[in-house]
Amino acid sequence: MPDSSAATGLHAEAHNPALLHHFAEPQQQRDAASLGMWVFLATEVMFFGGLFCAYLIYRRLYFGDFAAASKTINMGLGATNTAVLICSSLTVVLAVWAAQTARRTLLITSLIITMLLGLVFLGIKGIEYREKFVEHHVPGASFSFDKVPIPGHPGQYADPHHAQLFFSLYFVMTGLHALHMIIGLGIFLWLLIMAWKGRFTPEWHTPVEIGGLYWHFVDIIWIYLFPLLYLIDRHP
């Protein structure tokens, strides 16, 4: 960090205050940071990958029940949330660009808009969850999924146990994603404070860059969650 002891003249030679002394040049410092972030994101891929794998297995086994259950979640809200996250990804990439080019106002505005979009996402998620609680579609003692027809199979009804599996996966996957969003909001609040204090320069804005990588990753997870959970068998 540029404000730490590395910059306070411990080195006798002329030293770039934005450059930690174990790096040869700013480019190498940036590459090292984003490489580290990508390794972390690789572990996140495997973390979510296990859930996607469980989802694929059960979707294959109980396709009709999953389709019936998927039809009860609100596609419009899901699609809106996808658009909200895509817009937030744009503002994140604008924030990174603003940090690279020393545009303080754009940086701060982009960070604030990103956080607002993140909050809108969580709010819409909350509305969706509320619907599920009202309809007794939350797995547990009061779960109820009686006489819900299987799409494309007239006269057949979904097995409530299999539908419960779908909703378990729905809540765990979207819940874990929402948790990532909440963590992301925390990171972006910190970025906003740092940006407000003017800590980021074109030479050193590593937190904006790797915080942005995190946000985009969470967006990518949603890009897959939306069609898998909301759009299993929607045609009339």
Binding site: V39, W97, Y224
Partner: protein
């Protein structure tokens, strides 16, 4: 991004990717309402993968990454994910009892 790249503004590209992602979302929703028999899932996942690739390459700057190791980590993560999904699904798809 290296210094010489910041000379030309990447903004146009960012907005183009943003539009493409929004269009992709619209197409996914529309395609889901069509009866494509067994291809609904393939179309949905195909569009999602295109969108994810756009985000990774351009928003996450992997396309312009100066460090090849970064690209290796991205490909490595993808490879192991496909190993997990691919081997599990081939197992489940070829079991007589399932």
């Amino acid at each position: 991004m290296s210094e010489h790249e910041s000379a030309k503004s990447p903004l146009k590209g960012y907005f183009a990717v943003w539009i493409a992602l929004l269009v992709g979302t619209g197409v996914t929703v529309y395609a889901a309402t069509l009866d494509l028999a067994p291809y609904n899932a393939a179309v949905a996942l195909g569009i999602a993968t295109i969108k994810a690739t756009l985000v990774t390459l351009f928003f996450m700057h992997v396309w312009h990454a100066s460090e090849k190791l970064t690209k290796l980590v991205v490909i490595g993560a993808l490879f192991f994910l496909l190993l997990l999904l691919g081997l599990t699904m081939t197992d489940f798809a070829t079991r007589g009892w399932s």
